[in-house]
Symmetry: C2
Subunit: 333 residues, 2 copies
């Protein structure tokens, strides 16, 4: 192939929000797959809050992105050349292809997707790691029971909007916390949440005491910070807090710990973290359930697609932290 | 009876450490038991960190002590008059008798103790709620497994010294965190801890990376604050943090939340609170196990008894927060 492969690489470790100079755009020849490999023309890139954590040079659940490396990202694309037995030209595949137009894969962590069932972006959102994270976080880590009262922070995001709908399917009372009235309206009017709280305009603790007078049984937290502290004041007995993320803290120099954590003691409650990769063996269980609900119209997959190709990645990531998206944020290549 | 009953009552809700003026000493006639009641001459009063929380007018696992009420306290005493079928004059009983010399009880939450098995103070410490808290906190809440690495904060206190010894019985590697070299020496030399860290002189995180290079499986936390934050940086995968208390924060105007709580996510770890009263039905199980270990010499019950009667209570409580005691702090009446 004579085309070029445009890539976004990490140039410097950001402090706070990534600056333009923290990234470098590079252009390389489109690579050829070796034996046992295939090449993908990336069509959609998943923009995730966790990306910010991958930029820090600290031990975490995954190794940091190295300086000079193509930025790590999940994506979907079409196989354009293959020397791999399981992937043929024309297949549409999902995998960690990075922020680039063409990627080489050995098939590890990569799977073919069925675009008849759902369009490509949905395979990065509701049927991808976002939906899977919501599924296991709520049902396995959070041990959600029918009829409980559930609070979701970052409720209009990819994971949050999935979690809330999964909780509704389990006959729970679901309260979302989001950052604008528009998002709150989507949660209640489109996605079936029982209530939504605009944390930028309302006092979360006070609003929760109104919407969840019996206390919160499960809090699925994507945000951390003040929202976490507010929910801690409203726990029911034996409440479970699922730490899925802490998007409010990823760009913070000093993480704000939950000052109200002793509510865990008073309420015999727990706070538990998880990493979705640990559930890799069980992804098919989640995908099957989510695909079924999607087909039955019991959940809605929302995506917010932005165009501009890989060059638009730095701004897309800032947009995520600014909360531009309702549903999964996707960069179209 | 013509004797007087001296009592300590709560005069004002303290801010920070209780001041002398937050207490009032009162003198009343020794009360007579009504039908179904008995009277106890209190000999020993248990001094507990949780007492500080009972002084705050905020919802908690137990109602606050009311202004003007006799201060709530567990104690041991001899029955001096009885109109209760299960308690006879001369019996020695343990119960929540308050900070006073003579108490009336209806028998609820009160039980007779066997001073042949262990002296009265031990029934407030290792065989009382301190030992029971350590037992269920470690084995039930913390799900301690043989051979794990366990860290105990407030390790020289009543609950901590019990927890460390229970963990040793379960073949665990046990590291205590305490506030003086003397206490650290007691933990290692007398109580069989594998290591001890003086948090006032050492950097807890650095010391833990040395003493627990494979990470901490169970952290039994009585202290909170900086110690909790330091241990969070040293968790093993699927670590369990048991929130038994937070003595460093009870007198604080602003509780310091654990800034490193996202370590729960990275390490798939949990933080769980509990209230020992929930285990009331199972107290006999813990007491039987602890009494057996005590008889076999596998655990040592340490008590720090101070004299001075009920008038010495305000200073005794301050002494607890200053860390004067190694083992259970007891006020002799």
């Amino acid at each position: 192939m004579n085309e070029e492969n445009h890539q976004i690489r990490l140039a410097a470790r950001p402090e706070g929000l990534p600056k333009p100079s923290d990234w470098e755009q590079t252009t390389e020849p489109v690579p050829e797959p070796g034996e046992g490999q295939f090449r993908v023309a990336v069509s959609h890139i998943s923009i995730d809050p966790a990306m910010r954590a991958w930029l820090n040079d600290v031990p975490s659940y995954i190794r940091p992105v190295e300086i000079g490396a193509v930025m790590r990202a999940a994506g979907v694309g079409t196989v354009t050349a293959s020397r791999h037995p399981d992937f043929a030209e024309g297949d549409i595949a999902s995998g960690v292809f990075g922020v680039q137009e063409h990627a080489i894969s050995d098939g590890k962590g990569t799977f073919k997707i069925d675009t008849d069932l759902a369009p490509a972006p949905t395979w990065l959102g509701m049927l991808g790691l976002s939906g899977i994270t919501a599924y296991f976080g709520l049902l396995d880590v959070g041990q959600l029971k029918q009829g409980e009262t559930v609070v979701i922070s970052g409720a209009a995001g990819a994971v949050g909007s999935a979690a809330g709908q999964i909780a509704k399917i389990h006959d729970c009372r679901v309260i979302g916390v989001a950052g604008s009235w528009e998002k709150c309206a989507v949660l209640v009017d489109e996605l079936g949440f029982d209530a939504a709280i605009n944390y930028k305009e309302e006092r979360v603790g006070r609003a929760l005491r109104e919407h969840a007078p019996g206390g919160v049984d499960v809090f699925f937290d994507n945000v951390g910070g003040e929202v976490l502290d507010a929910v801690l004041t409203c726990l029911a007995r034996e409440a479970r807090i699922v730490i899925s993320g802490a998007v409010s803290q990823y760009n913070a120099a000093d993480v704000k710990g939950p000052a109200n954590y002793l509510s865990l003691l008073v309420n015999r409650a727990s706070m538990k973290g998880f990493v979705i990769f640990d559930y890799a063996d069980r992804y098919p269980e989640a995908t099957a359930a989510l695909a079924g609900w999607l087909r039955e119209g019991r959940i809605i997959a929302k995506e917010h697609c932005i165009s501009g190709g890989v060059a638009a990645f730095p701004d897309a990531l800032l947009g995520l932290f600014a909360g531009v998206n309702t549903g999964k944020l996707i960069l179209k290549v």
